[in-house]
């Protein structure tokens, strides 16, 4: 009799608990104030693991809270809030490398307030089922089984099991698939150094420059290619050396260019084939006069030939005319001292970008 009462009581308790669980799990579908959800993905590891049950309640949330947002009955996400802005929130899985696309705030259903780990609830459920079977063992053992009983029970159990899997664990299926940080290489710019080398500056993400396999240089519009030497100087820079000086000189004096550098470099996970157009910033030589001295500076990364004619005298009348040609190296300069004369003029001529440039200046008085 006592055993019968115990069996009855445990059956009622079991039914009530089962109903409560179903209500809580389906709460998110019906929009109840609280709901539970089984985690089915790994995007929130190590905070949440597959199989953990999270308890959500309709409460206000802030950045760094874990929330449950749903775009449908079986399409839900349990992620952490990283940003809240006008009408939308941005969430991110703790294990994901980048955040999710922004979603409207209206999709957020619950704030996660508790977690029941899978290794706590699963053994408890199994123990409860075993205890239930033990309490009702006489019923199960003595029951007469008719044809169809077993099949019906099995099929019904399986259909309910199927439905439970679909409803209990909301699935997050992103059409984008998993997030993968693929290599990104873009050109930041090119520049010519004072010693005539070319620096290729790149933006490199999720990979690394390893080495340069080949390098060729040529001038735009010309067929002749020159072999150059290129090395990786940092994760984002390639230094190209060995560009013939004559090439740069021609570019400076004549209006030819740009310089084209063809590079084949190895990167982690692949190969970079780049063709870079280099537009050096050519500047006219600076001619400055200080206390009767003339300084001519070549600020360019290529040498420049300048022809200097000086007119000097100590009294009015015919002057001493002197003509000299200088080759100013890249960054180089020349100083002409005319301080010993009372009257002096200078005429500087050079070829710059295809133009014949003449500068005439009075040096003294």
């Amino acid at each position: 009799m006592a055993r019968l009462r115990l069996a009855k009581r445990s059956a009622i308790l079991g039914a009530v608990l089962l109903l409560l669980v179903i209500v809580l799990f389906l709460g998110r579908v019906a929009g109840f104030p609280a709901a539970v959800v089984i985690v089915s993905g790994r995007s929130m590891e190590p905070t949440l693991h597959v199989g953990d049950i999270v308890v959500g309640v309709k409460l206000p949330y802030n950045v760094s809270d874990i929330v449950i947002w749903c775009a449908g009955p079986t399409y839900c996400v349990v992620h952490r809030v990283v940003e809240i802005k006008d009408g939308v929130i941005v969430t991110k899985g703790d294990n994901n490398p980048s955040p999710d696309p922004p979603v409207p705030k209206s999709l957020v259903r619950y704030k996660v307030v508790g977690v029941i780990r899978w290794y706590v609830w699963l053994p408890a459920v199994l123990l409860a089922l075993l205890a239930y079977a033990y309490v009702h063992r006489e019923y199960f053992l003595k029951r007469q089984v008719s044809p169809g009983d077993v099949a019906s029970l099995m099929v019904v159990f399986f259909v309910v099991f199927n439905a439970a899997i679909a409803l209990l664990a909301p699935t997050y299926y992103s059409p984008r698939g998993g997030v993968m940080e693929t290599p990104e290489v873009t050109l930041k710019g090119t520049s010519v150094t004072m010693n005539g080398n070319v620096l290729i500056n790149l933006n490199v993400r999720n990979t690394r420059l390893l080495s340069v396999d080949s390098c060729e240089a040529l001038v735009y519009g010309e067929k002749r290619e020159y072999v150059c030497e290129a090395i990786v100087v940092s994760n984002s820079q390639i230094l190209v050396k060995g560009i013939p000086k004559s090439l740069l000189e021609r570019m400076l004096e004549e209006r030819v260019g740009p310089l084209i550098i063809k590079v084949k470099a190895k990167i982690v996970f692949g190969v970079l084939n780049g063709i870079y157009y280099v537009y050096p910033t050519w500047r006219r030589p600076e001619v400055t006069i200080t206390n009767g001295s003339v300084m001519i500076i070549n600020p360019n990364p290529a040498s420049l030939r300048v022809n200097v004619t000086t007119y000097a005298a100590n009294r009015p009348g015919p002057a001493n005319v002197s003509f000299k040609s200088y080759v100013l190296e890249a960054g180089g300069s020349v100083r002409i001292d005319l301080s010993k004369y009372r009257y002096a003029y200078i005429r500087v001529e050079y070829l710059f970008q295809g133009k014949h440039v003449i500068i005439q200046k009075r040096v003294r008085p």
Binding site: A151, M154, F158, G177, T182, P183, L187, G270, L272, N273
Partner: protein, 205 residues
């Protein structure tokens, strides 16, 4: 009087169907649990239904789609396990009693019906794996202002488990099995009904 020859023949049929079911479902369990593909290249690792371990460009790769497939595989694994258990039970009981066991045969039929139910899920899982595999093995080469970046190819090597799920093989294996279990259960029931009739007739005599 019972037809002993008929019973023996029926027992052979039932054991044969059960054994076939055990083999097919064990293969299905193997296909679900074992890795299906090995990836090499910038994306490398192993890809399976229940578990995957992929490193993409030096970082661990997580896919919500694969996680979902892994979770849904519980349905197919449960069904296949039921089938293996029922098949073994039928085989054991039939060989022990030298005649088919009605309840066990019924359980075998029911478990094969659950397998039929789970085929839809399995088909979906296959589609997810195929889609993810195509995604992972796509070309990652691109062109930018820095030039043409040729990323090394990702190669996928199919493992034996993938053969079981390839094409419609699993359908050709499982659907006839389900039909066979239904037929064998019907035969067992019919035989049990005849036995009852014969018993009643012999008692009357």
């Amino acid at each position: 009087m019972r037809d002993k020859e008929g019973l023996k023949g029926l027992g052979v049929i039932v054991v044969g169907v059960a054994a076939y079911g055990v083999v097919v479902n064990t293969a299905l369990l193997f296909a679900m649990m074992a890795p299906l593909y090995l990836l090499s290249g910038p994306v490398r690792g192993s890809l399976g239904i229940v578990t995957y371990s992929i490193e993409a460009f030096g970082r661990t790769y997580y896919s919500p789609a694969l996680d979902m497939a892994s979770f849904l595989s519980i349905i197919v694994i449960t069904s296949s396990t039921l089938n293996v258990a029922a098949g073994l039970a039928v085989t054991y009981l039939t060989l022990k009693r030298k005649e088919p066991h009605i309840i066990a045969t019924e359980a075998l039929m029911a478990s094969s019906l659950t397998l039929l139910i789970s085929l839809g899920t399995l088909s979906g899982i296959r589609r997810i794996i195929t889609y993810e595999l195509a995604r992972l093995t796509r070309s990652y080469s691109f062109t930018s202002t820095a030039g043409a970046v040729q990323v090394y190819s990702v190669h996928a090597h199919a493992l034996p488990a993938a053969t079981i799920l390839r094409g419609e093989t699993y359908l050709l294996l499982t659907i006839p099995y389900t039909l066979a279990t239904v037929v064998s259960y019907a035969l067992v029931l019919r035989n049990a009904g005849r036995a009852e009739v014969l018993k009643k007739e012999s008692l009357k005599e």
